[in-house]
C-alpha cells in the first residue's frame, strides 16, 4: 500500500464520531461571520449596520487577487460590523447578523436531487467558484479559484483529491465521502473540467475502508476518477506528502504542486464546488466534527458559517466538566480556542474537547540527541537544530537549514521524549526567517 517516503508518526486515531451521520445544526440566534476566514487579504464588507440580508447573499467581496467572497449564512439583519475574537484567538473584523427566519436568496437550488450534467465551461466554472467564495476546506483555506487557474507555462496533469483526513479525531471528511459520494464525483468532474485534466485520484487512508469501497464503486462509472487506498500515517493529508504518496512525485522546496503537474483539493472543497456550480449555492455551511472522550455525543454537523462554537458543543451534549482544552481543528495542527463564542469559519473541520491529561505538556528535559525528531520529520529537516538556531536568533542559518520548508505538522514536537516544545521554537524561527526574507526582497 502506498504512502509517503520519509518521516511520519502514528498518533492514536480516536475517530469517535465516524459512525455518526451528518446532522443539520439548528440555526443559532446570531452569527458572527469573520471577514478573514481564508488565506490572503480580508474581504471588504458590502453591507452596513441595519441592512436586511438573505441566506446566501454576498456580504463582503474578496477584492485582492488572493481573497474570497463571503456570504450571509443566515437571513436577518446586520447588527454590527465589529471586531470579535475568532478561532485564531485574535480580534478580527466580522459581520454580526441577528437571525430572523431562514429566507434564501432566489436562484439557489435547495433541492437534494443530484445534477450530473455539467453545463458550464471552464471559465464559467472558475468564475462561479470565485463568486461563491469557495476556499480549501481542508484547513488551509486557500481560495479555490486561484488554484484552478493554471499559471502560464505550467500544465496540470492530475487533480488529486484529499480524502486522507490524517488528523486524529476528525471525521467530517469521512462522513462526507460516505454520504455525499455522488455529489463528490460530480464536484471532482467539475474541477477536472476547469483544470483541463483527465485524471483525478482520490487519496483515502486505509482506516476508512467503507469510504474507500463506496467511492471505488461510484468512481467506476466516472471517466478518469480513481481511488487510491493509502497506508495510515500522519501527516499524509499534507499536500506535498499526499502527492508523493499517490503519484510518487516530490514538489521541490518552496514550490507549488503545479510544479509537478498536480492540483490538490480537499473532498470538502469538491463538495462545495458541486453545490456552487450545480446548485448555485455559495459556501455558507460546512461539516464540522465535534468530539471528545468525555463528550456525551461525539458527532458530525452541517453548520452555518458564523455559528458560535458553544452552540455546537451544546448540541453534542454540552461542555464536559473535565474539559481542559478546546481545539479548533485536529489535535496535531489545530488551534486551541480561548473563547467558546468564537465562530465556526470556512476552515473549521472540527471542534475537539480534551481533558488536561489528554493534551500533556511533559516536563522539559535536556535534548539527549536521540534524533527521533529527524526520523519523523516528513520534510527531512532537523527540528532539534532549527530549535537551537531559532533560540540563538540566527535567521540566516535557519534559512540555510530550510526552516521555511516546515509545514508545522508537529510530528517532532509530538515524538520528543524530552518534552521539548520543538514546534513552538521552530515557529519563532520561521517568523524571524520570514521577516528577514521579506526585508531582503524589499
Amino acid at each position: 500500500m502506498k504512502t509517503f517516503a520519509i518521516g511520519g508518526v502514528h498518533p492514536p486515531e480516536n475517530k469517535l464520531a465516524e459512525k455518526q451521520a451528518i446532522e443539520a445544526l439548528p440555526l443559532p440566534r446570531t452569527v458572527a461571520i469573520p471577514l478573514s476566514q481564508h488565506l490572503g487579504a480580508p474581504a471588504v464588507p458590502v453591507v452596513a449596520k441595519g441592512d436586511k440580508v438573505q441566506t446566501g447573499q454576498l456580504i463582503a467581496k474578496g477584492e485582492a487577487f488572493i481573497s474570497a467572497n463571503i456570504h450571509a449564512s443566515v437571513s436577518g439583519s446586520v447588527a454590527k460590523i465589529d471586531s470579535i475574537i475568532d478561532a485564531s484567538g485574535y480580534r478580527k473584523k466580522a459581520v454580526i447578523i441577528n437571525v430572523e427566519g431562514d429566507e434564501w436568496v432566489e436562484g439557489i437550488d435547495r433541492d437534494e436531487t443530484l445534477i450530473k450534467d455539467i453545463s458550464m465551461d471552464a471559465e464559467e466554472i472558475i468564475k462561479r467558484i470565485h463568486d461563491h467564495g469557495i476556499v480549501g476546506l481542508g484547513g488551509a483555506t486557500f481560495p479555490s479559484h486561484v488554484k484552478l487557474k493554471v499559471p502560464k507555462g505550467k500544465t496540470a496533469e492530475y487533480l488529486i483529491i484529499n480524502g486522507v483526513e490524517c488528523e486524529p479525531c476528525l471525521t467530517s471528511d469521512h462522513r462526507l465521502m460516505l454520504e455525499k459520494g455522488e455529489e463528490l464525483m460530480v464536484g471532482i468532474s467539475i474541477q477536472m473540467k476547469a483544470l483541463g485534466v483527465d485524471k483525478a485520484i482520490i487519496g483515502v487512508e486505509n482506516n476508512k475502508p467503507d469510504a474507500i469501497s463506496h467511492l471505488k464503486k461510484l468512481s467506476s462509472s466516472w471517466d478518469g476518477i480513481s481511488v487510491e487506498a493509502l497506508e495510515v500515517k500522519y501527516p499524509q493529508g499534507a499536500e506535498k506528502q499526499l502527492i508523493k504518496a499517490v503519484i510518487g512525485r516530490e514538489v521541490p522546496s518552496g514550490k507549488l504542486p503545479i510544479e509537478v503537474g498536480c492540483v490538490v483539493h480537499n473532498v470538502g472543497t469538491a463538495f462545495a464546488v458541486y453545490e456552487a456550480v450545480q446548485k448555485n449555492k455559495p459556501l455558507i455551511e460546512r461539516v464540522v466534527t465535534v468530539s471528545g472522550s468525555s463528550l456525551k455525543k461525539p458527532s458530525n454537523w452541517m453548520v452555518r458559517i458564523g455559528t458560535p462554537v458553544q452552540e455546537l458543543i451544546d448540541a453534542a451534549g454540552g461542555l464536559p466538566e473535565d474539559t481542559g482544552k478546546v481545539v479548533n481543528g485536529g489535535p496535531m495542527m489545530g488551534k486551541a480556542l480561548n473563547d467558546l463564542n468564537a465562530p465556526v469559519a470556512k476552515g473549521t473541520s472540527g471542534i475537539l474537547l480534551f481533558t488536561n491529561a489528554e493534551t500533556p505538556r511533559p516536563p522539559l528535559q535536556n535534548c539527549m540527541r536521540c534524533a527521533k525528531c529527524l526520523t519523523v520529520c516528513p520534510m527531512g529537516l532537523e527540528p532539534y537544530l532549527l530549535a537551537i538556531l531559532a533560540d540563538k536568533q540566527r535567521p540566516d542559518d535557519c534559512e540555510e537549514e530550510r526552516i521555511m520548508d516546515c509545514m508545522e505538522c508537529g510530528s517532532c514536537h509530538y515524538i520528543c521524549p524530552s518534552g521539548r516544545p520543538l514546534l513552538d521554537q521552530v515557529r519563532v524561527g520561521k517568523n524571524m526567517t520570514g521577516k528577514m526574507i521579506r526585508e531582503r526582497s524589499n
Partner: protein, 332 residues
C-alpha cells in the same frame, strides 16, 4: 466554567520520555548482565553494583552541590553509564578503582559538559580509558570464566582471546597454531571467554540490540555499519594471509565488538543525528577498531575507535544532513 488551556499545536504527545527510553536500555542489558554474572560470579555483581551506585552518587553530588540545579539521578542515564562502565572492565577490578572510574565517567565525561545530551564523548568509555591508562595492570588482568563462582579470591587469570592471537602472531606464531588455545566459536558466542564483565556474550548483546531495535530506541545504521565494515576489513586481511590474521567471525565474536557496536557507539549524544552520518560514523568505528586490533599496540581497539569517532560527530552532523524532501526532483 474552568479556564481553558491555550497552547500551540500539537496537542497530543507520544508519551515517550527520557526515563522510559533509558530504562528500556537497562532492560535490554539484563541478558548480558545475567551471562556475565554466571561466568564471572560474585565479582561481576559487585563491580556492576559499585559502578552503578557510584555513578548515581557522583551525578547526585555534582547536580546538587556543584551545579545546584535539578537532580535527575533517576532518569536512568547514570545507571546506564554505571552498567556500561562495569561492562568494560575486568570482573576482578578492585572496587576502589571502580569508584574512581565512575567519578571520571560522570564528572569528566558527562557533567563537565552540562549533563545529559551535552557530552561529546561516551562517558563510560572516558572512564574506561582513564582506568586503562592509569591502572594498566589491574585493567588487563582478566579472570577466566568459572560458572557460578561465588569466591572473590579463587580466580584464574589469563589473556583474552584477542590478546592470545595478537601476542602469538607478534612472536611469530601462526594463527592456526594459536586458535586451539582460544575458545571456539560457540563458546565465544555464548560468552565463555576471558574479557571485560559485559562484553563476553555476543548472543546476549545481540538479543538486547534486537529488543532496542524493536522498541526503536536505536536504529540499525550504527551497529550494522560498524560490524559490517569491521568484518569486511578483517576478511580482506584474512584472505591475504590467514596465518597472520584471524578470520572475520573471530573478530566479530571476540573482545568488545558487539558491546561496542550495539551499546557504546549508539549512545545518543555522542553519535551523529542523521542516518547517513550514522553510517559514516559506524564505518569509521569499524575500520579504526580493526586497524588498532591488527596493527596497533593494544589487542583491542573498540573503545579507542569509538572515542576517536565521537570527536568527529559535530563535523559529521554538519556534513551529512538528512535527505530533504524535494531535494532531488524525481518525476514519475
Amino acid at each position: 466554567m474552568s479556564l481553558l488551556t491555550v497552547s500551540g499545536s500539537p496537542h497530543y504527545h507520544a508519551g515517550q520520555s527520557v526515563s522510559k527510553i533509558m530504562y528500556g536500555v537497562i532492560f535490554s542489558l539484563i541478558p548480558a548482565m545475567l551471562v556475565s554474572f554466571y561466568f564471572f560470579g560474585l565479582a561481576a555483581i559487585l563491580v556492576t553494583l559499585t559502578a552503578v551506585v557510584s555513578c548515581m552518587l557522583f551525578e547526585f553530588l555534582i547536580q546538587k552541590y556543584l551545579i545546584r540545579g535539578p537532580v535527575t539521578v533517576f532518569d536512568g542515564s547514570a545507571i546506564i553509564t554505571g552498567i556500561l562502565l562495569a561492562f568494560n572492565v575486568p570482573a576482578n577490578l578492585p572496587l576502589g578503582l571502580m569508584v574512581i572510574g565512575s567519578a571520571v565517567a560522570i564528572g569528566m565525561g558527562k557533567m563537565t559538559f552540562g549533563g545529559l545530551g551535552k557530552n561529546p564523548f561516551n562517558p563510560a568509555l572516558v572512564g574506561r580509558i582513564f582506568l586503562l591508562i592509569s591502572f594498566p595492570v589491574q585493567m588487563t588482568t582478566w579472570p577466566k570464566p568459572i560458572p557460578w563462582n561465588t569466591s572473590l579470591t579463587d580466580v584464574i587469570t589469563g589473556p583474552t582471546p584477542l590478546a592470545v592471537i595478537k601476542e602469538g602472531v607478534d612472536q611469530g606464531a601462526k594463527v592456526s597454531e594459536l586458535l586451539p588455545q582460544v575458545p571456539g566459536y560457540t563458546e565465544l558466542l555464548v560468552g565463555s571467554m576471558g574479557g571485560s564483565v559485559g562484553e563476553v556474550s555476543a548472543i546476549a548483546l545481540i538479543l538486547g540490540g534486537v529488543y532496542m531495535l524493536a522498541r526503536r530506541i536505536i536504529s540499525w545504521h550504527i551497529p550494522v555499519s560498524f560490524l559490517a565494515s569491521a568484518a569486511v576489513f578483517a576478511a580482506i586481511f584474512w584472505q591475504i594471509n590467514p596465518e597472520a590474521y584471524a578470520d572475520p567471525l573471530f573478530h566479530m565474536l571476540a573482545g568488545g565488538m558487539m558491546l561496542g557496536a550495539i551499546y557504546m557507539a549508539t549512545d545518543y549524544s555522542t553519535s551523529p543525528m542523521a542516518p547517513r552520518g550514522m553510517i559514516i560514523f559506524g564505518i569509521g568505528c569499524g575500520l579504526l577498531t580493526m586497524i588498532i586490533r591488527l596493527f596497533g599496540a593494544y589487542p583491542e581497539g573498540v573503545a579507542f575507535s569509538i572515542l576517536i569517532m565521537n570527536a568527529f560527530v559535530p563535523l559529521i552532523n554538519r556534513a551529512f544532513k538528512p535527505k530533504r524532501f524535494g531535494e532531488e526532483i524525481k518525476n514519475g
